[in-house]
């Protein structure tokens, strides 16, 4: 096929990057998104995007970026694709610059770079403190251009339900639901790219957007896709606790000189500004003199936990610490951090330019995701994946400002790879042997079962219980007995799910119905995360078990691969060696 049709699911940075590459190379894209793509979760990324441009005379190199990323990820990432990403990063920044991203500038008019966690170099390009928003808009604009030329067709307010897999195990398209009419349709394609983002909703409250449920990944896992390293969950050290979500307070606040501290005295009720230096404990600077406040996120998060729960310190008895910017002049703060200061001001009501912010760690990112090979292909022929929904680039812990670059790079690989696959292998002419009809029927049956279910369980209450236990037992500190209890609880929730009661049975824009479908997939994926964590008896990156405090390369320098056992209705696991051919694993000590 000269001009194949590719389906891209998800319109964040990864999905839009893949779309642009395909359209540019002459393919046609059907782009599916739950929300208008300009409202995707990528807008929430704040601090910046990494690339070793070495514009500060520090001698930074793509190899150093590669080494920082691998070391930051505690050697769990396969190294060759990470090296390619770091080598491609400088040209990605140039491209974004050409597309009009308003990156901050130096006095000479060049791109400005700031420091971020887990590196000693100024490697992070930024557009104020809304870098993700600016990057997403630039790509959204390019896709709109292709859309007006007829090379991209957007299906916004549609949600992916499943892949259409034929009798030979090859993906032939997708099944999706129109979130307004609630109609289920199938769409054929020569290849499918998943770019469906994060899974924050499994933890109830997180820094993620509402659509980040992991439902699509989970649906594919239940159809036979491997899900890799699910147990690696990044808890961001600095989020703003809230009733509806945990709002991110960017690492760039520390990159620009923000300091983390607690009052040395338990239950100190004084105004933070009246507490003298000698009575403040800058614990990150004391424990990690070389990196200070810019240790990687897993390290900073555990340190805050330790201070709060072992030293019993906090702010007025609350589990929080200060993130202090008040020593930095107002003009600098406004120029470089305005977006995030505004968020704090609006949602908390204090001005962080004059009052230290109160923050606490919050679930932020999944390093794990759909298993892909080094060219973004999943194990289901015809399905590719890129962005946060796949596992490839961050190992056991992601460095700040590496997510944006991994999304764009992954999309730039997945797009052309899917196109090449479509041109060489696709069998669009061949009969799908009724695969489309049978998949649509399967999904419609699930829908009608849910609609006619007249139990007593409220889906939102089941979700809250899931989030609470996942946050308590499967985030910062993990114990095997608590993990076992968590899995039992999820099984109980899955049983209760069978007795669900939908208070809304309208077949029009029924958001609670759609959410209830997502909830089932969240529960299934929660078991992958929990059981994966239980099996990994070591501590590595974001995965920390006090009972096994050391990294164990002999037994666990391996990728966890979960697959769904339909008969048992639960995950099974196998382990795959990690490609460490370029940098020899060494102890990780910041």
């Amino acid at each position: 096929m000269a001009n194949p049709n590719i389906i891209v699911v998800g319109g964040g940075l990864a999905g839009l990057s893949a779309t642009i590459k395909i359209a540019e190379a002459g393919g046609h894209v059907d782009l599916f998104s739950i929300v208008p793509v300009k409202r995707s979760h990528s807008v929430c990324a704040q601090g910046g995007i990494n690339a070793a441009k070495n514009l500060k005379g520090e001698g930074d190199t793509p190899w150093q970026h590669f080494d920082d990323t691998i070391y930051g990820g505690d050697f769990l990432a396969n190294q060759p694709p990470v090296k390619e990403m770091c080598e491609a990063a400088p040209a990605i920044i140039d491209l974004l610059d050409r597309m009009g991203v308003p990156f901050n500038r130096t006095p000479e008019g060049l791109l400005d770079f700031r420091r971020f966690g887990g590196t000693l170099y100024h490697r992070t390009a930024f557009a104020g403190a809304t870098t993700g928003q600016q990057l997403l808009y630039a790509l959204d604009e390019q896709v709109r251009r292709y859309e007006s030329e007829g090379r991209v067709r957007k299906h916004e307010t549609w949600e992916f339900l499943s892949g259409v897999i034929d009798h030979t195990g090859v993906c032939r398209g997708i099944c999706a639901i129109d979130l307004r009419s609630m109609e289920v349709h199938t769409f054929p394609a020569e290849a499918v790219i998943m770019a469906t983002g994060g899974i924050g909703a499994i933890f109830g409250k997180s820094t993620n957007s509402v659509v980040c449920t992991g439902s699509a990944q989970s649906a594919l896992y239940q159809q036979g896709a491997f899900y890799a390293n699910g147990e690696f969950i990044q808890v961001h050290p600095t989020s703003i606790p809230g009733d509806d979500k945990l709002r991110l307070m960017s690492e760039s606040a520390r990159g620009e000189g923000g300091r983390v501290w607690v009052p040395r005295t338990q239950g100190d009720k004084r105004d933070p500004k009246s507490i003298p230096e000698s009575e403040r404990w800058y614990f990150l600077e004391e424990w990690y003199p070389k990196y200070g406040n810019l240790v990687p996120r897993d390290v900073a998060t555990r340190a805050i936990h330790k201070v709060v729960y072992e030293h019993n310190l906090g702010i007025d008895g609350q589990p929080m610490v200060y993130l202090d910017l008040t020593h930095i002049d107002r003009a600098t703060l406004d120029r470089k951090l305005e977006g995030i200061l505004e968020i704090y001001e609006k949602f908390v009501g204090d001005d962080p330019r004059t009052t230290p912010m109160k923050i606490f760690p919050g679930m932020h990112y999944t390093m794990g995701g759909l298993w892909v090979d080094f060219k973004q292909a999943t194990n289901i022929p015809g399905i590719f994946a890129c962005g946060e929904c796949e596992y490839g680039y961050h190992g056991a812990n992601r460095l700040g400002a590496n997510s944006l670059v991994s999304c764009i790079f992954g999309g730039f690989v997945a797009g052309p790879q899917a196109l090449a696959y479509a041109r060489n292998n696709a069998k669009s002419g061949a009969s799908a042997n009724g695969a489309f009809d049978s998949e649509r029927k399967r999904q419609e049956e699930i829908n009608s079962r849910l609609m006619s279910s007249d139990g007593t369980e409220n889906p939102f209450k089941i979700w809250r219980e899931l989030g609470e236990i996942m946050t308590k037992n499967v985030t910062v500190i993990r114990y095997n007995d608590a993990l076992a209890k968590t899995d039992e609880k999820i099984v109980e929730l899955l049983e209760r799910y069978q007795r669900i009661n939908l208070s809304d049975k309208e077949m029009w824009a029924n958001t609670s119905f759609v959410f209830t479908r997502q909830l089932y997939n969240m529960l299934q994926l929660a078991r992958v995360i929990t059981q994966g964590a239980a099996m990994r008896n070591e501590s590595r990156g974001a995965h920390y078990k006090p009972e096994f405090p050391e990294r164990d390369d002999v037994n666990f320098l391996k990728t966890t691969k979960a697959y769904f056992a339909p008969d048992a209705d639960e995950p099974r696991f196998e382990f795959e060696p990690v490609d460490t051919s370029l940098i020899k694993p060494r102890p990780r000590k910041y």
Binding site: K21, E24, V35, P36, K38, R39, S40, H41, V43, A91, D94, L95, D97, R98, M99, G100, P102, F103, N104, R105, P107, G109, L110, L111, A127, T130, Q133, Q134, A138, E141, Q142, R144, R145, E147, E156, R180, S209, V210, V211, G242, D243, D244, K245, R247, L248, R335, G339, I343, K346, F347, G349, N458, F460, R464, S503, D504, E506, W508, A509, T511
Partner: protein, 249 residues
């Protein structure tokens, strides 16, 4: 503080064709509540103030950090983002209504695709040659970046269009958000290549001349975008272009 309740009245509508109706809810107060978290509480216990079981509210939302632009609605009569509308700062009973200038999908969710169509019409993009490695973009002064960045923070919430007296079926006015994007792309060194196309798109029916300078847009914008400055600047550009057109035709 114990047993405090929050009273919310919500204008509901089951489908685009059906008649709107009001429902009232009494929710237990919690610290830090906002309009979205209140609606999450309703979903977990969908019962009206009078104890009648009802259905969860349909509304658009995503990031809950006021950057995705999804959750715009009328709160106590004012167009704003629901996520940043803190309950403690609102007079009760709190009234929630869908934006009034856009077709209702259901309850508080409306269809704002008109803005994305407008952005297409004015070619709101930088026409790059391709995505291959062509080196860095044009050098830009800090001053230029500081002028462009605020315009680039538009979240497409459409609040400026909701409050604009000229944005209605009679005028087909494109609205402030689109004009601000024209200003943004016309000032970009590469984006300026399409400047004439953009200005022509803003002439005629629904064009920039429909603006009545009511200045409601700039007051309501949640991102403090200098919308009226952008309209003045682009108005001037359109006028100069129109004069140029006369002499070049």
């Amino acid at each position: 503080m114990a047993n405090r309740t929050v009273i919310i009245k919500i204008k509901r509508q089951t489908s685009p064709e059906s008649k709107p109706y009001w429902e009232e809810f009494a929710l237990p107060w919690k610290p830090g509540m906002n309009v979205i978290s209140a609606m999450m509480d309703i979903a977990a216990n969908p019962v009206t103030r009078s104890g009648k079981p009802t259905r969860p509210i349909t509304y658009d939302s995503n990031c809950l950090e006021e950057v995705c632009g999804s959750c715009a609605m009328r709160i106590n009569g004012r167009a704003r983002m629901a996520c940043s509308a803190l309950i403690d700062k609102l007079d009760q009973p709190i009234t929630l209504e869908p934006l009034s200038k856009f077709p209702v999908v259901r309850d508080l969710a409306v269809d704002r695709s008109v803005l994305f169509e407008n952005l297409k019409a004015v070619k709101a993009w930088v026409p790059v040659d391709g995505t291959y490695d062509l080196g860095p973009g044009p050098r830009q002064t800090q001053r230029h970046q500081e002028d462009a960045y605020p315009l680039s923070r538009c979240i497409s919430c459409c609040c400026c269009m909701e409050v604009c007296p000229q944005f209605n079926d009679k005028t087909n006015f494109v609205g402030a958000a689109t004009i601000a994007q024209v200003r943004l792309f016309n000032t970009h060194p590469t984006g300026a290549a399409l400047k004439e196309d953009r200005l022509h798109a803003l002439m005629g029916d629904g064009g920039i001349q429909e603006c009545g300078y009511a200045q409601n847009c700039v007051e309501v914008c949640p991102k403090d975008i200098p919308l009226t400055d952008a309209i003045s600047e682009v108005s001037g550009q359109v006028m100069r272009q129109a004069i140029k057109d006369i002499f070049t035709r």
